[in-house]
Symmetry: C2
Subunit: 349 residues, 2 copies
């Protein structure tokens, strides 16, 4: 069923049908009604492929995330989809599973589908894989990756703000030895979070023991492993900040195994504020980085780049602020973990 049949039944030309559908004002109201009636009657839906072939606009955006099974990302996808629905765009989503081959493949397929822009929410991986998109001048938006070229936007996350709050919160609770479980340090974002931690510590005069900087991998398993390491330290930290919530959940899991009670024996702070965080046992204190906000920013970045006729010379930069959300996984160091640590220390000396 094509526009031709509609035209035939309505006894008009296909041009008129096209104009009717697109609301071109030169069509007589009377004719328009007649055409619409036929369209409804036949249940005619225009063929997007033909439309975008001639118009040169696919109304498709690509969305590349690291891992859809990581609860952080579905919220992003949902937010992005919400925006797409509102703006009559379609999304091609790819979960890379950290596989460069898969990224390359998905980039290629997106180009073949003629996406109008791509949001890359992988937090700083494998930039070179997107060269194909760049040379084709397809608008891109990254998280935490600069500097910006024309048609490329960047969402810069202000890690410092939230992480500083976390550190100061712990300091106020008398924690002095604070460990940080980072993400994989090849990720720019993981690096940035760790740096924010170190700076925040130094700022208030707390020592950062290099042993207390543990490289994780942003998974629960990573959190489990990291806590195992921490628990065998001669001077055990009384608090741990994690580079993401999944790591923190892993830490909680292992704490339970080892009989370490949170927050009595160990204070714990996560990062991301995934929805799950508030349902943990105990509810997780964490630094919020709004996924919905990221999705909105990313979508709007692409949209405004597409709508612009002359590309922004240096791309645009957007900033997302992070901030601490207090829940129940942190407590006074003095009242438990800290005491225990001191007692332990005294005994070994």
């Amino acid at each position: 069923m094509s526009i031709h049949e509609v035209a035939r039944k309505a006894k008009v030309s296909i041009a008129t049908v096209s104009r009717t559908i697109n609301g071109v004002s030169t069509v007589t109201p009377q004719l328009s009604r007649r055409v619409w009636r036929v369209i409804e009657e036949m249940g005619y839906y225009p063929n997007t492929q033909a439309r975008s072939l001639v118009s040169g606009r696919s109304r498709i955006f690509g969305l590349i995330v690291s891992e859809i099974t990581n609860p952080f990302f579905p919220e992003i996808i949902q937010g992005f989809e919400d925006m797409a629905v509102q703006n009559n765009y379609e999304i091609l989503t790819t979960s890379t599973v950290h596989d460069p081959r898969r990224i390359a493949l998905s980039v290629r397929r997106m180009i073949e589908r003629r996406v109008e822009g791509v949001a890359i929410v992988t937090f700083g991986m494998e930039e070179a894989l997107f060269d194909d998109l760049k040379t084709r001048k397809i608008p891109l938006v990254f998280i935490d990756v600069g500097p910006a070229l024309p048609r490329m936007s960047n969402i810069r996350i202000d890690y410092q703000h939230g992480i500083r709050q976390a550190v100061q919160h712990l300091a106020a609770l008398c924690h002095e030895r604070i460990a940080f479980i980072s993400g994989p340090l090849i990720l720019k974002s993981a690096m940035a979070r760790q740096r924010a931690f170190i700076e925040s510590m130094e700022e208030i005069g707390l020592a950062v023991d290099p042993n207390c900087l543990i490289e994780g991998d942003h998974t629960m398993e990573g959190g489990i492993k990291a806590l195992k390491k921490i628990l065998v330290f001669p001077r055990r930290p009384s608090a741990v900040i994690c580079s993401n919530d999944m790591t923190a959940i892993g830490v909680m899991r292992q704490s339970y195994e080892e009989g370490v009670q949170i927050p009595r024996d160990l204070s714990l702070v996560g990062f991301d504020d995934i929805r799950l965080a508030q349902f943990m046992i105990p509810p997780l204190t964490t630094v919020k980085m709004s996924q919905t906000e990221i999705a909105r920013m990313a979508f709007n970045a692409l949209l405004s780049e597409v709508q612009r006729d002359i590309p922004s010379p240096n791309g645009s930069e957007y900033v997302l602020r992070t901030s601490l959300v207090l829940r129940d996984s942190t407590a006074m160091a003095c009242s438990g973990g800290r005491m225990k640590a001191l007692a332990l220390k005294a005994r070994t000396e």
Copy 2:
């Protein structure tokens, strides 16, 4: 950059370029090499829209899930995507958020994009919304929705098997009062799970107290509310089976609030075996319904329907078996919760 430029540079016709790309065997190897060289050199990628316009095949499948932020679904999406990548298909995903308007919109857009088939993983909602797809004879695959019309497949979940195992496991641990927190009973799948529970109980001669059938909503919040209700029962059940893992996680959450220890005071069984289940505190005993397997079945159902030249007269049916996965959230009733319940009962009598 189009096939024409490739043709011009390679000094052949566009037909030859097309044939080269599609590996048609009549092209001389020598010519083929020449064309390929130009293609590589120019970085030419064919335009899928034009391709599918003429071929009449979009190589797109639709995937409709209830809620991407529910951890059950990302695994399905990932599995579906894996299959799509392997088979060179693209996916249009929609998370309905239980909004009929949104479903209708997404169905329409899928039709406009000329999807070749749609997998509907909403566990039995709003069948009428898909009528548009049916009249257009687009292959569909549902979960737990029959009977099958031509070009419609159904994945039937064998709830009975796993749930019977769960009930018998609890019975073996001396549990007699077992509560069941269902999903919203308008969902066919939720109904089916509850029925499987009741049948399994009756089969081994355990009484099903109607009070112990609590309608939840497949969310954590629902689990929290349900447990609150259960805890005020005069004769508190010693075990709870939930219609999905998210509900069970809510129950765990609320148990923690109320000082009820799992499994000492209450045994808990979930359903789905989402990845998170094993990382709960304690790790959750649950009935596994493999998300990956569902995704594979759904994809293959669509694929074989598309490849078939004459549609299956009554559609196809696939069956997925469920089975119990033992972890640490269940324990002997006699050793704690049961004892306590008895003590409580004795005292009140």
